[in-house]
């Protein structure tokens, strides 16, 4: 392990971390603007041109507010909860390939922090760990609404993880690898996995909505029933951590969807662009394309939130267990049969 390698990875991690935080920050702004657009309002427009400084104002507000720790709460776990939520949201970015290897000063730099050979499962593990932040925070608040919310979050995550895992299995049958880097390389040009796995993608997307606790599956923070859900007792930056974690989760799951099903940094005509721009700028253009896809999915998340009303709890469970899981299993069987037939002839 030479020093150059460590510095290179360190810079990459810092850049990715910074970008995820900035995107999460501006997602809050985008969410309000999208909501305003869909409801025929103006949205925030006071701070700076078009309200572009609104996230900064919100951040300052979060930092300046009084920090309250309820006396009946479990103090340590009350602090650990939001920290864990943000940590689990951030570590998912480590295995995502942001672009094809880039040449900087005669040195080939891979635009991926770690290419581990179980990348898909790593993402899956991080997602399943994400629920602990909500559960621990909800329990430590010592408030019955928070506790109910924590329990809802746990059962929702467990239920939708199964369908999510099953939808990924059908994809893995086709790719024959668990490494995200290889999966993206297989989708060169317009050879995206979504054309082969439309049903799998649909199931995966619905499950990502449920795993990130976004509407229409935002039952853990359902205001009409549970006040604020698991963050009822939270104030100041600890509340900010929970809200931030939600937006970073949205960013990461958009990136995962774009990587697994929509070709990551691949786009039609990329070979031509590679000869046109050279080995330094073409990968950067690919990164731009990848971020365009991510931003589209983030917009999609918001679009759905302001269009579809929230599910009832029994509807949520019925959809997960009786709708998505049988569909995902059928998808696996069909994919397996088709692959067997193709290999035979």
């Amino acid at each position: 392990m030479d020093t150059g390698f460590i510095i290179e990875k360190f810079i990459l991690v810092a850049v990715i971390f910074g970008i995820s935080l900035v995107i999460a920050m501006y997602s809050t702004y985008a969410e309000r603007k999208v909501a305003a657009y869909l409801q025929d309002r103006l949205g925030p427009d006071r701070a700076g041109p078009f309200g572009i400084l609104q996230p900064l104002a919100d951040g300052v507000k979060m930092f300046m507010k009084e920090e309250i720790i309820p006396t009946t709460s479990n103090k340590w776990l009350f602090i650990v909860g939001p920290g864990l939520a943000l940590l689990c949201a951030c570590i998912g970015t480590a295995v995502i390939p942001w672009g094809s290897p880039m040449e900087i000063g005669g040195k080939i730099v891979p635009l991926q922090v770690a290419d581990i050979n179980v990348g898909v499962l790593y993402i899956f593990g991080v997602v399943s760990l994400g629920v602990y932040g909500v559960m621990i925070g909800g329990w430590a608040s010592n408030n019955k609404y928070s506790l109910l919310s924590a329990i809802r979050a746990a059962s929702q995550n467990i239920s939708y993880e199964i369908a999510m895992g099953l939808s990924i299995i059908a994809l893995l049958l086709m790719t024959n690898t668990l490494s995200l880097k290889t999966i993206v390389e297989q989708q060169h040009g317009l050879n995206w996995n979504v054309w082969y796995q439309p049903l799998g993608f649909l199931i995966f997307m619905i499950c990502s909505f449920a795993e990130t606790n976004r509407a229409p599956f935002d039952l853990p923070e359902c205001e009409t029933e549970l006040i604020g859900g698991y963050h009822t007792e939270y104030s100041s930056m600890k509340l900010g951590f929970y809200l931030f974690a939600e937006y970073i989760n949205m960013f990461v799951s958009s990136a995962v969807m774009a990587t697994l099903y929509f070709g990551g940094y691949n786009y039609p005509g990329m070979d031509y662009m590679a000869t046109l721009l050279g080995p330094t700028w073409a990968p950067l253009f690919g990164v731009g394309v990848f971020f365009f896809k991510i931003v589209f999915f983030i917009f999609f998340f918001m679009w759905v939130r302001w269009t579809i009303p929230r599910f009832r709890y029994d509807q949520l469970m019925n959809l997960g267990w009786k709708g998505l899981i049988p569909l995902a299993i059928a998808n696996i069987i069909i994919t397996g049969v088709v692959i067997a037939i193709i290999e035979k002839f």
Binding site: L77, I116, N117, V118, L121, Y122, F124, G125, V127, S128, L129, V131, Y132, M135, I136, W139, L147, A150, I151, A154, S155, N157, I158, E161, L178
Partner: protein, 167 residues
């Protein structure tokens, strides 16, 4: 390097698993158990068994322990509702503990300190090799264990459905 990491993580696993037993609050016990499983994941990575590490991470830390926490959060465990243990049980516990110590001392005496990280077949824990092993020489036990899990699942569904039929 990796030997030192092993000893560090092994110490952590022992400390956390002791904390599981000594924690007064059952929720804290479960949280320490999660940490213990996390150190096990690190052990698997040190043994170059990345697939096992991630599966341990997903299944034990991500699913089973969530259900443990779920159940414990639903149970309203107070000091008053905790059953008072009779002295007879305490005496039996002390005797059983002493027997365990004797067994442990006996087994430790026979054991010798070996280098902890030498593997006969370093690639065994990777996905491809593990899959070939499971679906090759160990196909029958593998399928039988899946049948066992299926039976457990059907049993659980049956138990939860039984009251509904009687009403």
């Amino acid at each position: 390097m990796s030997t030192q990491v092993f000893y560090f993580v092994a110490t952590l696993s022992i400390i956390f698993s002791l904390m599981v037993i000594f924690a007064k609050n059952p929720i804290h016990s479960v949280l320490y158990l999660i940490l213990t499983f996390f150190t096990f994941t690190v052990h698997y990575v040190l043994l170059n068994a990345q697939f096992l590490a991630v599966v341990n991470f997903i299944v034990y830390m991500g699913a089973i322990m969530v259900l443990f926490l779920f159940v414990l959060m639903l149970l309203n465990l107070n000091k008053e509702t905790e059953p008072v243990k009779s002295p007879l049980i305490k005496i039996v516990g002390v005797i059983a503990g002493c027997c365990l110590i004797v067994t442990l001392v006996g087994s430790f005496k026979a054991a010798t300190i070996t280098s902890p990280l030498i593997l006969k077949n370093p690639g065994l824990g990777l996905v491809e090799n593990l899959g070939k092993e499971l679906f090759g020489p160990f196909l029958l036990p593998f399928e039988l264990s899946s049948l066992l899990l299926l039976a457990a699942m059907v049993g659980a569904v049956l138990l939860s459905k039984r009251d509904e039929v009687e009403i």
